[in-house]
Amino acid sequence: MKKSESTHGTAAFLSGLAWALLITLICSISMGNAFAADTIKIGYISPITGSHAEFSESDPYMISKVKALLKDGLVIKGKKYTVEILQKDSQSSLDRAANLTAQLILKDEVDLLLVQDSLSSITAADQAEINEVPLVSTMMPWQAWMFPRKGDPAVGFDWTFHFFWGLEDVMKCYTDMWTSVETNKIVGGLYANNPSGQAFANREFGLPAAIASIKYKEVDGGLFIEGAQDYSPFIAKFKTGDTDIITGLSYVQDWATFWSQAAQQGLKPKVVTMAACLLFPSGLEVLGNRGDGLTTEIWWHPNVPYKSSLTGESAAQLAAAYEKETGRQWTQPLGYAHAIWEIGIEALKRAGDPHDRDAVREALAKMKMDTIVGGINWADTPIKNVSKTTLVGGQWRLGGKYKYELLIVNNNAAPQVPVQAELKLMTDLK
C-alpha cells in the first residue's frame, strides 16, 4: 500500500469544509432570532405526513386562508403587528413533535403554539409547560391528553389548554345510538393497543363501563396490536357471544382487515360503531360498498349550527368553500383546524400585549367564546384547562355527492344540532 503523505493538506482542507458546513448550519439556525419585535410568531404543528396525515388534509387550505386573513397584520390595542406563521409537520411522531415544539419555543421564540395533532399534543404540551409558553391543542380526547402527562383534572396545567370532547361524551354518543334501536343488547368490543385504544378499553371510564351503565352485556374482544393480520379470535368470540353491536377503536387499515374477515366468517352485526377508522370518507371508501350503515361520532359537520368568529362563515359555508376550492369532500378536522385559529387569534387580542406570555396565558385561562365548533370555555370548566366540545351520532350511507355521505342520526347530547335521518340497522340495508 502506497499512500502519499502530501494528502494531509487536502485532508485538513476537507475536514475544514465539513466543519464549515456544521458551523453554517448552526449559524443559519441561530439567525432566526434576528426578527423584529413587532412580529407575532405563531407556531402551528400538525401531522402533514405519517400515519395521522388524514387529520391535516384540510390544513394547507386552512393555513392559506388564515395567512390571507392576516396578510395586513393584526391590530391589537391600536398597535399593528405583522403575523408570522411557522407551520411544522410532526410527521405523526411524538418524538418529532417534542423536538419541533422545543425548537419553535427556544429557537424561533414563538408567542403562541397551536397544535392540531392527536398524539403530538402530549409531547408538545409537556415542552410548552416546561418552557412556559402558551399552547392550545385539539384533536384528542381530553383524558388521553391529560393522564399520560400525569395531569389532575382538579389542578390542570399552567400553560397548556385543550379543546375537544372526552371519552364520557363519545361513550354517551355511542350508547344513545344503540338505545335508539332494537337489538339483543350484547356488545362486542375490540381496541387498538395505543393510548387512545387503551383509554377506550379502560374498564373504569372506557366503553366497558358505558356498556354496563346502560345494562347491556359486553363481550370483551380485547386489545390488538396495530398491523395485526388475523382477527379470527375476535370474530369467533363475537359470533359465539351473539353480539348485535360491535364497537371499539381502530385505525383504517386494521379495521379494513377486520371488517373483510368478519364478512368472510359470517359475522353480521346490526349496529357497528367504531372510533377513529370511520372518521374520514377515505376510511369508508377502502371498504368498497361494505361501509354502508357503519356509525361513528360526529364532532363537526356542515350542518352544525355554529359560525366562525374570524370570517362569519357558517359551518355549511366553510365546508362548501373547502369542497369548491380543493375538489375534495369535507372532513371533520376542517372545523377544528379553523377553530384553533379563532381561539389563538382571540387570545392574542384579549391579552393586549401578544408578546406577554403571561397575559396570553391569562386570556386563555379566562376564555369564553363562540367558534365554528361551538362554545369554548376555559374560564369555568370542571376539568381544568380543558374545554369540552359537543358530539352527535352519525351514520355513513352510500350515495350523495360523493361515494359516501355522513348523516347526523342522533342528537341527544346536543339538541341544537338538527338530525338529518334515522339510524338504520345494518341488517335492514341492501
Binding site: 500500500m1 409537556d126 388521553a144
Partner: protein
Amino acid sequence: MPDTPQVKSSFSWQIKKPIAGPIILALAAVFCAVFPLFGSTGTLRLMNEIMALMIMAQAWNLLAGFTGFVSIGQQAFIGIGAYGLFVTSIETGLNPFAAVFLGGLAAAVVGILSAPALFRLRGPYFAIGTWVLAELFRIVILNTQKFGSGSGLTLARVIKTIPREYRTSGTYWVALFLTVFTIFLVYFLLRSRFGLAVRTVRDNEASAESVGVNILRIKFIVFIISAFLTGCAGAISYLNTMFINPYATFSVEWSALLIFVVIIGGIGTIEGPFIGVLFYFFLRETLSDFGTWYIIALGLVAIAMMLFVPNGLWGMVSKRFNINLFPTGATVVMKKG
C-alpha cells in the same frame, strides 16, 4: 524446476499514523466545549439531537460496517436505554443526566442476554432477529402498566425540578462526553489487535477462525459495546423529548434512519457516520417544512446515493483524494529475517 530462493520471513501489520484526524477531533471538541457560551438553547438542543444520532450511527457502523453483521433492531437498545432512564429517574428520583448511563447499562445487559440467541443467526436472519428483539420489548412494554404501557411515560415532572439553565446544557454535556468517548473508543478499538480481528471476521469468518480468531468472543464484545452506546444515545434522545411511548421508541424507523445516515456518509469508516448525520440534519433543517416533498427528497437522495456513490460521501472523497482522517485499515508488513 527453477530454483526458488527460500526466504525466511515473518509478518507483521501496521496502521498509518493519523495526523489530521485527532487534530480535527481536538479542535471540534474545543469548539463544542465553548459552544454553550454563545449558542442559543434552541441550537444546543439541536446539537443534542445531532450528537445522539452520531453516537447511534457510530455504534451501528461498528456492527455493520466493521464487524459485518447488520442489525435492524437498534431501536431495541434505543428503547431500553430510554426506558431505563425514565423508569429509574421517575421511580428513584435519580438525576436524569446520571441515569443516561444506567440506560446504557440496561441496554448492555439486554445485549448480553440476547446475544447467545441472536448469534445463532447469520446475515439477513440476524438482521430480522434483532428486529424481533425490538418488537418483543415493545410488546412487553405495551403490556406493562409500570412502564406506562401504550400510553407512555412523561419526564416533565422530573425535568421541572432541574433549574432551567441546566435542563438543556446538562443533556448537552452528557451528549458531548459520550460522543467524544464513542469516537475515541471505536477508533482505538479498531486500531488495536482486536480491531484487526474484528475486520477479519467481517471479511471472512472461516479464514478468521483458521488463524485463531475467537469469532464468538469478537462478535460478543462488539455487540455489547454497540448496545451500550446505543442505549446511552437513546436515553439522551428521549431526555430531549421528555416523553416516551413504545410505538415511537421501538419504531423500526430508528434503524432505517441509522442505515440512511451511515450509508450516505460512508459505511465502514469512522468519518462516514459523522458526515452522514450532518448531511441528514442539513436536509432536515432546510427541507422538512415541505412535508411530503421532504420525505420524497430523502428517498430520492438515498436511491441516488446507492446507485451513484455506493461508498457514501466520505468513501467518495476518501477515494478521490486518497485520504483517511482516522485510518483503521491495516497493511501487512513483511520483515525479512
